[in-house]
């Protein structure tokens, strides 16, 4: 049987307030707050002592202690003597322990409210700093690649092999699925329009050119950004948390060469191959729609596709794939290397790696498209 925690206040003399506690003072129940005591004190400015009577108190836990802590602050603010003698001995000792080390007031976490202009300024400064860090990282990566070309880079061939496997063979199922569907969508959208003009055969051109020149590379790039870029950031971020990167540095081994270089290499080599595979998948699906639903002959469709694509389109597509591979690897590794030293920082690094990679992919697509337009290819 538990009784509710109750509080009664009385004044045995003019300068003393007696707080009588009874029942169960436990967390979770309805407990009287320190506010009531304050109200009572406000009405009687002459009170200089606060005493307790807890003979009727059945049981207590942190619920009583938080109440007492609040009263303690209240008393010290109003210069009232907080007399602990009437409290249960255990509560007295815990209170003494809680008050043994004074609250740290000069901790540097204390940040005041920042005005809008100040935070805008901070954000701008931060933007420039992060742009600088990005350029620095890319510069370091280029230096590492140059050292690789001179045969001086330190990395493990077996790592490179493992990463290559992870970013190619293991990515095939998801790339197949996505590009198969993109090919299907393109074919359907094209078929509806082209049917109006009786020009169904050009579905082959549409799917072929769109896939080979652009869509396969973009879709593969985005899949790899989510799949591999995030993984790179999480791997390197965890190594950062675990001081493994510090351990490399103090051995004089450049993390740039040892960790980042094999990842960039693996994606730069494997992305064009993945793109090629994605091309085939997309075209195959377009062919299924064309041959199966639009009654175009299989050979006819094949010939039309082969005529339409051309080497330039293929080259541009594969080049885009290469560029996207480098971007995904750079973004993943950079965010991983910049990672802070906590679990949530690793999560942030992975998120930011994917975002950075996708933004990079879209931007570089625009640049490549404009350049091709300029060059007339």
């Amino acid at each position: 049987m538990t009784a509710r925690g109750e509080m009664i206040m009385e004044e045995p003399s003019a300068d003393t307030l007696k707080v009588i506690l009874s029942g169960d003072w436990k967390l979770g129940g309805e407990l009287p707050g320190a506010g009531k005591v304050q109200q009572r004190l406000d009405g009687r400015p002459g009170v200089r002592n606060l005493v307790f009577d807890t003979r009727e108190l059945a049981s207590w836990d942190s619920g009583l202690l938080t109440f007492l802590m609040n009263l303690g602050t209240l008393c010290s603010r109003q210069k009232i003597l907080f007399n602990r003698d009437g409290l249960p001995p255990g509560a007295q000792r815990l209170l003494a322990l809680a008050l043994a080390v004074p609250e740290k007031k000069d901790a540097r976490q204390a940040e005041g409210r920042v005005s809008f202009l100040a935070s805008l300024g901070n954000q701008t400064v931060y933007l420039f700093q992060s742009a600088g860090e990005m350029l620095e990282f890319i510069g370091d990566a280029v230096v590492a690649i140059l050292r690789l070309l001179h045969g001086k880079a330190q990395y493990r061939r077996s790592d490179l092999g493992l990463i290559m496997q992870a970013v190619s063979a293991q990515a095939l199922p998801i790339v197949s699925l996505i590009c198969f569907l993109v090919g299907l969508i393109l074919a359907f959208i094209g078929a509806i329009q082209l049917k109006l003009f009786g020009a169904q055969i050009y579905v082959a051109d549409l799917v072929g050119i769109a896939m080979v020149r652009l869509m396969a590379a973009i879709m593969t790039g985005i899949v790899m950004a989510g799949r591999t870029g995030g993984a790179f950031a999480a791997q390197l971020g965890t190594m950062q948390v675990n001081q493994e990167i510090d351990a490399l540095k103090t051995l004089g081994i450049s993390p740039m060469e040892f960790l980042v270089l094999p990842r960039i290499l693996a994606l730069a080599v494997m992305m064009p191959l993945l793109c090629l595979y994605a091309n085939i998948m997309g075209i195959l699906r377009g062919m299924v729609v064309g041959v199966g639903m639009l009654n175009i002959g299989f050979i006819e469709y094949y010939n039309e596709t082969a005529k339409a694509i051309g080497l330039w389109n293929l080259g541009i597509g594969l080049f885009s794939g290469f560029v996207f591979g480098v971007i995904v690897a750079l973004a993943g590794c950079m965010r991983g290397m910049q990672c802070g030293r906590s679990a949530s920082a690793v999560g942030d690094a992975a998120t930011s790696a994917v975002v950075t990679a996708i933004v990079g992919i879209i931007l570089s697509t625009a640049v490549i498209t404009i350049l091709c337009n300029f060059l007339g290819i």
Partner: protein, 252 residues
Amino acid sequence: MTAKEAHITVQDLTMAYGDFVLMRDLTFTINRGDIFIIMGGSGCGKSTMMTILIGLKAPAKGRVLYGEVDFWGADQPTRDRIIRRAGVMYQSGALWSSMTLAENIALPLETYTDLSPSQIREVVKLKLALVGMAGFEEFYPSEISGGMQKRAGIARAMALDPEVLFFDEPSAGLDPVSARRLDDLILELRESLGTTMVIVTHELASIFAIGSNSVFLDVSKRTMTATGNPNQLLAETHDPNLRLFLTRGEQS
């Protein structure tokens, strides 16, 4: 007693994160063959001190001399060369998790020596045996306990027979017996190889058992308040903070 030769000298050092000053006016000398303890309460900057000594973080002010060479004033290749003569055991071991213990220890050897693969295998075996972990060559760091990871971390730090070994909280998170064994290992390595040991710790038992020299960083005064043999410090100090620290808070 023979005259001691300074190995690492710290002069007027200030440690800071941005404009938050952690410690200032640090001046002390680590002699060759010392077991030097960097001690102080939590948050006093012991680990930061170590990151400065091993070249991961630049000091805000002041100098660190390795022998006669100004460590932070030198260029990167010089710094790399100096720090290659040092081994570091990180708090959690910081073994490279994608490699086996043998590969972890072999990597520095492959990078900086011309040893043949079979010679490297022998050295790896020896180092693991020295820390009491013979036969664990093919284990991955995630497959062994925390205490074993620390010992494997020491084996890796010793791979290149360094002149100075840094330990970040070697006995934190270890049971008393393992902690004691680690202390014995550190003592033994110093005796037999003459390696200088720099240990960041607040484990009193270790401090008194193995420390031959020390510096005390006082978090309330934001500077060092004492340096010397910890046993001597305990006997002679009048500084209440240091006495409190060295006696585990007991009043005397």
